[in-house]
Subunit: 427 residues, 2 copies
């Protein structure tokens, strides 16, 4: 077995790192030569060191696994490893979203591989699926539930009838959300992953700032109830679509029809819907996080690289794609600004229930060319704000924002109004 | 681009072959040098020939795509191509199910690749997913809806309230079923595909005769209605599970809970649920047939091979697996005979409705240690048979068969009884 020749250094012995070590017996004789973590209390084997240089400067080590997360140190180690002619395997989506193109270009120049199957959807082989499996396709669209924490929270709100704060606490208690949950619930983690998926799928540079992002903090239990009545679930979706020569890429809470497979993705699961012009529609579904699922993906990359498939990540058909993308300028496609979005909206107003209020709201919407499909107003109260929920026909986002801003200045409106975009995903 | 060096010969210009030609502009400069079909009326280009030897004897051609289907000729061409040191890409699941191990062994010996992503689930990259993406896993179970025709028929019966014969006609009219639909509706196509998936997943030789197979001809509309009332869908499932050191592999109509994702797979779609010990549970979903989806998979293999990843299909981590499997004897694991199956059953009897009949049926079931969860008997009739539907607790298949055989000998029983196995798939 040729893979026996590879020697691997692992930097970062957290949850995923430990799972990689645990799963190492499946590595077909590939040797784990060194494990580095800055916390020396973690060192319980002869392989252990606290110095990344013990890996980076070891000429025998030809594959470096980076699992420390974060940007600066990880970037430095990965760059140094590639410059020294080592292959790199990482799960670091934040770094890849920011520096993936640069690092891939460097790896291409140095003739080494940069594997990052673990960066999106953990053990689900979606990176390999897009890069190789769908290499003959033009991908038209991606709709992904790619953050398990946000999906857990929205599912708990829907299934248990609880509010956002309580669902977040539950997620934290069960270990599905960090004590600082910003990355997950504000959509940033999904944004990072979408940047990676969109770059591979649409063969173009994608900057993080190209991707509009909005989290789930403002979704209430009543939004979920109203959405359900209307036949929808609310999911934090990462969306990327080719719109002519431009890319429409965004992450936001989204109403999707109960009939769609994505609406039945519950709890911490991930699912990614893709449409290619040859392969048709496709969904990858599974566990999108966790130590062992992520380690499963890390090892799949290590094994692929060790099998002398050095050229795999650059030189496969998707390598061509990457080369195209990496040659820069010309292949950078335009971005659809969020203001140009043209879609249906769910809108929740909170207004005093007295005659004429609904008429004033409708009047403002009408002036902005927004027409209404249906209105739900259940509770009644003369003095405090009650929710008024509307579904609109397709409207321009810029018009919607202007209309909402006017409506929110009405003195009968008691809270900042909320709108949630609707997507029609045909599975 | 190194792939520019590859030259390809295509044998078989049917639906998939034509789609491969159509998709060829996506082949990144890989040259399609020769197209062979025995029907010379299909020859409309200078590349065309009716002689497979024009490909097999051309030393410049290093990749042969076999798309003629069937066993004998396809086997001869593939074997000859491999013996001449050519890589082969094929969608021929029937041949792979019968001769896949032998051909893979030959390819391994000759140092060439045998690519067959297109043989299961068309464009869904499940072969690559299992071989490479899940290479660090022990796969525990597979549950697949891997025949679009059968799923179309069962979906139509459920959605349109029609019987089997009419649903089959609809499938034929819409081009989703052959005029001779045996392979699809009798489960043989699923059996072929399951043989391929199980060999890769469980790293063992799988003979077709190891896989119990039963088709969907006997399913009536009323079975679907009763199943729905009980909270189930009926799907033609291909199932493979590791049971200790034995493999439980079978294809049959199956009741699966309405709550399971697989139950919402409609029409011609395919879905394959997998559980690995590291990656967890996973579903691949998409179009499982059709010219372009299949061509998408064919080209993914061609591109991978052309990218000088010659060793890909043998030498990757899954290559190790295959080597293990191919070294024969010792790695061949046992098979769970269908008689040993222990599961819940849906049973439909057709009996004359008179006092004591149900008691006699229950008595026979009880003597075979089969206990009943629920009974549905809606229609009433004194003289002709009316359906009696039961759900049982878990029972041994051998007992069930014996009980049914006794019951069918009762003179109050008017038709051969039908039982359908129930699977609990936790997604």
């Amino acid at each position: 077995m040729r893979s026996g020749k590879s020697k691997v250094g692992l930097i970062g012995l957290g949850t995923v790192g430990k799972s990689v070590v645990k799963l190492w017996p499946r590595a077909d004789g590939i040797i784990l030569k060194r494990i580095v973590d800055k916390d020396k209390k973690k060192g319980d084997s002869a392989l252990f060191s606290t110095k990344p240089d013990d890996i980076l400067n070891d000429p025998e080590i030809d594959i470096v696994i980076e699992l420390i997360g974060g940007i600066n140190d990880a970037y430095r180690y990965i760059k140094s490893a590639i410059e020294k002619g080592k292959n790199v395997v990482t799960a670091n989506k934040a770094l890849l979203a920011l520096k993936g193109e640069e690092l891939e270009k460097l790896a291409l120049a140095k003739g080494v591989s940069l594997g990052y199957e673990a960066s999106v959807c953990a053990g689900i082989p979606i990176i390999r699926g897009i890069r190789e499996g769908l290499a003959a396709n033009r991908i038209r669209s991606i709709y992904g539930i790619i953050n398990g924490t946000a999906n857990f929270i929205l599912s708990a709100m829907e299934e248990e009838g609880i509010g956002f704060a309580r669902a977040l606490s539950e997620a934290q208690e069960q270990g599905f959300a960090e004590s600082n949950p910003t990355l997950d619930i504000d959509g940033l983690d999904s944004q990072h992953k979408l940047a990676i998926l969109a770059r591979l799928s649409f063969k173009t540079s994608v900057k993080l700032s190209d991707i509009y992002v909005e989290g789930i903090r403002r979704i209430t239990h009543s939004d979920i109830t109203y959405a359900r009545e209307l036949g929808y679930s609310i999911k934090l979706l990462a969306i990327a679509k080719a719109e002519g020569k431009r890319l429409d890429a965004r992450v936001h809470p989204t109403l999707i029809s109960k009939d769609n497979l994505l609406s039945s993705v519950r709890g911490i699961h991930n699912a990614c819907f893709l449409e290619g012009d040859a392969c048709g529609k496709m969904v990858f579904y599974g566990q999108g996080a966790g130590g062992l699922p992520t380690a499963s993906a890390i090892l799949s990359d290590v094994k692929a690289i060790a099998s002398e498939k050095r050229g795999l990540f650059q030189m496969s058909s998707s390598g061509k794609v990457l080369e195209e993308c990496l040659t820069g300028g010309s292949s950078r496609i335009g971005i659809v600004p969020i203001d140009e979005l043209f879609t249906r909206y769910y809108v929740r107003f909170s207004a005093i229930d007295k005659p004429g209020v609904l008429a004033r709201i409708c009047d403002i919407l009408g002036k902005h060319n927004i027409s209404i499909v249906s209105v739900i107003q259940k509770e009644r109260s003369g003095t405090r704000g009650v929710p008024i929920v509307m579904m609109t026909h397709k409207a321009r986002e810029s018009s919607m924002r202007k209309a909402i801003s006017s409506i929110d200045r009405l003195n009968v409106v008691k809270e900042k109004s909320l709108f949630i975009r609707v997507e029609e995903v045909e599975d």
